[in-house]
Structure formats: C-alpha cells, structure tokens
C-alpha cells in the first residue's frame, strides 16, 4: 500500500518541475511564445530592458486588457503540453521495454512502465473503473491526447483556408491505404505496420490532390469529391478482393468508426513521432502558413514559397489524419480538424489565440469523449465528436459573433 501511494505524489512533483523545461520541448512554438508575454511582462515595462533576447510577440496591452482570460489560456496550454509530454514519455517507455538487452535500458523502462500502471490502478480506484491499469488503455489515451493537440493545430490553417474537407478526403485515402497494406502484407509477408502503408498512401494522395488543384482551378470541391469517393471505392474493392486470399483479419469497422482496441503499440509510437514532427513543422513555418492562410496573393507577391507551403500543409494533414484515424475512424476524423477550430474561432480575437483555444477545445473533447466512451462502452470516435460539437454549440450560444462567419465554401 505504501508503495502505491508514492507514484501519484511523484507525478505531481514532476509536473511542477517540468513546467519550465519539458513543456517547451514538445511545443516550442505554442508554449514558449504564449507564455512569453507573461514571463516578460515585468521586463517590458522596464525601459532599460526593453529588448529581451527572446522575442515578445504581443504588446503588453494584450495582457493588460484581458489578463485573466489570457492567463487561463496560457495555463491550459502549458497543462496540455505537460500532458502531451507525459503521454509521449509513456509511449517511449513502453517502447524502450522492448529495447535490446545490451542497451541495459529495458529493466529501467520496465520499472517506469510499472509506475504508469500503478497510476492507472489509482485512477481505476477513484473512478470505479477497471480499464486504466491496462497498458492498451494507456496507449489509446496517449494517442487520443496527441490527436487532441495536432489535429486542431493543423485544422486551424485548413479551416481558415477553406480546405476543411481535405481532411475527410485524405482519411478516405488512408482507408484505401489500409487496404493496400493488407494486401502488401498478405502477398509479401512483410511484417511492417499497416498504418505506415496508410500513411504513405495518404501522403501520396495528398500530393496528387495538391497537383490536381494547382493544375486545375483553385480548391474547388469537385477534385475533392472525386478523390474522396474514388479512394474509398478503391479501398472497398481492395478489402473485398484481399479477403479471398489474405489470411490477415482486418477490423474494417474499427478503421471506419474508430476503436480503442485497434490502437497498437505500433500505432501509438507512430502517433508520438508524428506529433513531434507536426508540431515542429508548424512551429518552424508558422509565419509562412499564417500569411498564406490570410492572404495568399499578397504572400506570393512577398515572394513566400506558397506552393511549397501548401504542399507541406496537405502532407501534414495526411499525416495527422492517419494518426487520428485509429481512434476517430475514417468517417469522423475530419471533425477533429474542424470542430475545435470552429469553436475557437467563435471566441478568439487573434490567430494565436485561435490556435491555443483550438488545442484546448480539442483536448477537452478528446478527454471528455474518451471518458464517456470508456464508461459507456461506446465507440470513442462518435463520443469525441459529440462532445466537440457540444462545445461548439456552447460557444455559438455564448458568443455574440455571427454563426455564419465560418463557411466551408
């Protein structure tokens, strides 16, 4: 019993200490910048130190006008960052347990891993559930938390470029990718991950779609509709055809509607990797993406590489969609790109605030939805989306801004 009381305490302490280092590692862009006005608040008012080396992106007036709201947002983002880092840590520890013996890592990783399991037991104890001690639940929760970070992050750019349906399209392409993966594995006996094949196929379709739209007109819905239904058609054909000779059983329903059970250690690991990659890519290209999202023509005149950035954005979308598909399912994955952003856009004043709020609403939706889905034994995808839309409706009712402001066309 004494052994069990330790871990929760440990974690709480750790959380406070991590506040200023690990949170920044995982989300260099959001964490550091958003917390800067807070941290620099004192410095800015002092004329002798008016040029702090790390940039102060917001004028002090922003913090002065609505200090409490800004503070809550920053706290929320820091908490989300910490949660995401903890989840990535879990995935890494889970993976290190399988490391080769000579590295001497596995015993320590195993020990750490047991701590997570103990925390899970405590959660079970308090919630009266019987799932959190299972590593598979942790993997699913970790994947969900990371989806809650990256999907709204990329979605914020997509929604305001009026490319919301690209996510849906690439999810259908990823479904075709799963089908291709099944056949590749059946034919060649390759032992790789199904999701990896889905990722490659989805990214290729993203590039193809990008090529189509630059060589036809703009982002009309026609190429999107064609690719969306086309890739799904190919997927269904391949799945049916593959059944005849592929011994591998695929949980098609799981991929369509999302399921906690299809989150493998492999899938969680891929989610962790792509989260780091996506957050880093958005952080590095934030300015370019913002300018192009707001005014593509002017960005072109300013000689930003618009085509490159557009390609980057669709590929990031493809990557996020494949990761998110595990829990949300092909059909519902677009909701996570769109709904939290729509919610945030009802409330936010600046784009930076939109990003922060999108991620917060995404996170609330994922955590709320997963809790509901575990307690009620219902699919997670639908639960998450319903919670997300609940937040959206609240935001619409609670804000004075017109609901017609956001359009997909």
């Amino acid at each position: 019993m004494t052994e069990r009381t330790d871990p929760p305490d440990d974690r709480a302490d750790q959380g406070q200490e991590l506040d200023h280092d690990d949170g920044h590692d995982s989300e260099p862009e959001l964490d550091t910048r958003d917390s800067d006005p807070e941290a620099d608040g004192g410095l800015n008012s002092d004329p002798t130190v008016s040029n702090p080396p790390s940039g102060h992106d917001r004028s002090p007036t922003t913090t002065a006008t609505r200090p409490w709201r800004h503070r809550i947002e920053v706290a929320g983002i820091v908490a989300t960052g910490l949660l995401a880092v903890a989840m990535i840590a879990f995935i890494v520890v889970d993976w290190l347990r399988m490391a080769p013996e000579w590295t001497l890592v596995p015993p320590y990783a195993g020990l750490l891993f047991d701590q997570f399991v103990v925390v899970g037991m405590w959660i079970d104890h308090f919630l009266g559930t019987n799932v959190f001690w299972l590593p598979s639940t942790w993997r699913a929760v970790a994947t969900g938390v990371l989806i809650g970070v990256v999907a709204p992050l990329v979605g914020a750019f997509l929604v305001h470029r009026q490319m919301a349906l690209i996510g849906e399209t690439l999810a259908h392409a990823a479904f075709a990718g799963v089908a291709v993966g099944v056949i590749v594995i059946a034919v060649t006996g390759w032992t790789g991950s199904l999701l990896f094949v889905a990722l490659v196929v989805s990214a290729l379709v993203a590039l193809g779609l990008q090529w189509l739209t630059t060589h036809t007109s703009s982002y009309g819905d026609v190429p999107i509709a064609i690719v969306l239904s086309g890739s799904f058609a190919v997927g269904t054909l391949l799945i049916s055809w593959g059944r005849e000779f592929a011994p591998i059983s695929v949980d098609v329903e799981g991929f369509l509607f999302g399921s906690l059970a299809i989150v493998t250690a492999d899938g969680a690991r891929m989610m962790a990797l792509l989260t780091v990659a996506v957050v880093a890519a958005v952080a590095v290209n934030y300015k370019q993406l913002l300018f192009i999202t707001f005014d593509e023509r002017a960005a072109r005149v300013a000689r930003l590489d618009v085509d490159l950035q557009n390609t980057l954005l669709v590929v990031l979308t493809a990557v996020v969609v494949v990761g998110a598909m595990q829990i949300l399912g092909v059909i519902l994955v677009a909701a996570m790109l769109v709904v939290p952003v729509a919610t945030a856009s009802q409330i936010a004043t600046s784009f930076r605030e939109t990003l922060s709020l999108s991620i917060l609403f995404g996170q609330f939706s994922v955590l709320g939805g997963l809790t509901f889905s575990i307690l009620a034994s219902l699919p997670p995808g639908g639960s998450i989306v319903v919670v997300a839309i609940g937040f959206y409706l609240l935001a619409v009712v609670g804000s004075s801004r017109s609901t017609t402001a956001i359009s997909m066309h």
Binding site: S59, A298, V301, A302, R303, T349
Partner: protein, 253 residues
Amino acid sequence: MAATDGSDPVVAVEDVTFAYGEKVAVEDVSLTIEDGDFLGLIGPNGSGKTTLLQLMLGLNRPDSGSVELFGEPASTFDAGERIGYVAQRSTDRGEAMPVTVREVVTMGRFAHAGRSRLTAEDHEAVTTALETVGIRSLGDRRISDLSGGQRQRAFIARALASEADLLALDEPTVGVDAESRDRFYGLLDDLNRRGITIILIEHDVGVLTKHVNKVACVNRTLYHHGDTVSFLESDALAEIYGPSHGILEHDHP
C-alpha cells in the same frame, strides 16, 4: 525608403502580351514606372487592368514580352519585402478568420524574417506603420471588427511595415464610404510624397485624377500613358469608354 538601384525604373513592361486560354487580356503593352510615380491604371471592366498589375508584380508570366521589377526580371525577383500589394477585395479576408490588426500588419515583416524569430526591430516597424496610418489604438482588435476604411489602412500598414518602395493597390476603396475614401487617398498622397511609388487601380476617374500624377489608360492595349494633365486633355477616355462617358459609374459587383 531604400532608393532604387541606379537609374532602373521601378517597373518596366515591354511588349507584354498575356492571354487566358484563347482570350487575350493584355496585348503589346509597354510602359515604365519611375521611382516616385503615383500611377493610376484605368480602363473599363474586363479591360485587363488587374491582369496587367499582376503581370507587373510577377504573379503571372507574360506569354511574350518582358517585365522587370527594380531592374530584375519579375519572375526571378525575390526581394518581396520591397512590394506591398493589396489585391481586389482582399480586405474581405479576415471576415471569418480571427486575426488581430497587429497580426495582419506583422505579416509585412515575414518576408524580412524568413523562418527566424521576429526581432524587437520588427515589432517596432509594425508599431510605426500602425502609427503612420493612424490605427495604432486598434492594434489588438480583431480585423473583422474594423470598418472598411480602417481595414484598408491596416493593409497599407502591412505594406509600410515591410518597408516597401512600391505599393500596388487594386480597387482598394470598393465598399468604403466617401469620406473614408477621401482620407484614404490623402494618406496615399502623403506616402507618395515620402518617395513611395504607387500603382493604383480605381474606377472613379474623377477621384483618381485628383491624386495621381501619371495615368495609364488600358483596354487590352495601352491607350494612353503620361502625366495626368495630358491624359485629361487627350481623348483616351472617350476612346475606351465611348464618347458619352465622362465619369464612370460604380457598377462593380
């Protein structure tokens, strides 16, 4: 503002022809814009004004002929911060997107900054630009909360923040009330006096000729290019609009 290199004109268009598929939009146009010009580009709807402007900025490549910006071919010109561009109806953007005035103006610094972080100097340039156009107090407001005239000022501030030497404006005052429009043109006059070269597309010939010092009159081909006085004395206007038109109506959608 940085001086142009030597004696190169800001924009040099030579024998440019451009077609959308079969439809020729711009044919055999040659004109040069010198440092410090305030050029008004006029012509009826569908006369190729916008196309010509986009060719000048390197957004489109001409089918034949050449375009140079600051002495460099427009297609390879890469000092994007030297040009400020406000596209037609571009201020409609931001209607649904939450973005503050300051964020919009800060975009003017992105061509300077590339992928590195914005410096204190960048933020100072943004504040100065907001002050110049007189909307500093609106910096933290969402851009969709601004009036049409204020929004135009924000877009001009974006160009100023990038320290552009060339300002290209495509019908900037569509949907702006008359009083704000007059003040907006007053601001353009001030900027031009400071040495910024301006290209302006505007429907209202009366308003246009009050402010610009050069006029280019196009309807697929160039009908007139010269200073404003010579334009008013010429019959170019009657030629392209037909004799009954003195001053144009606002019939733009």
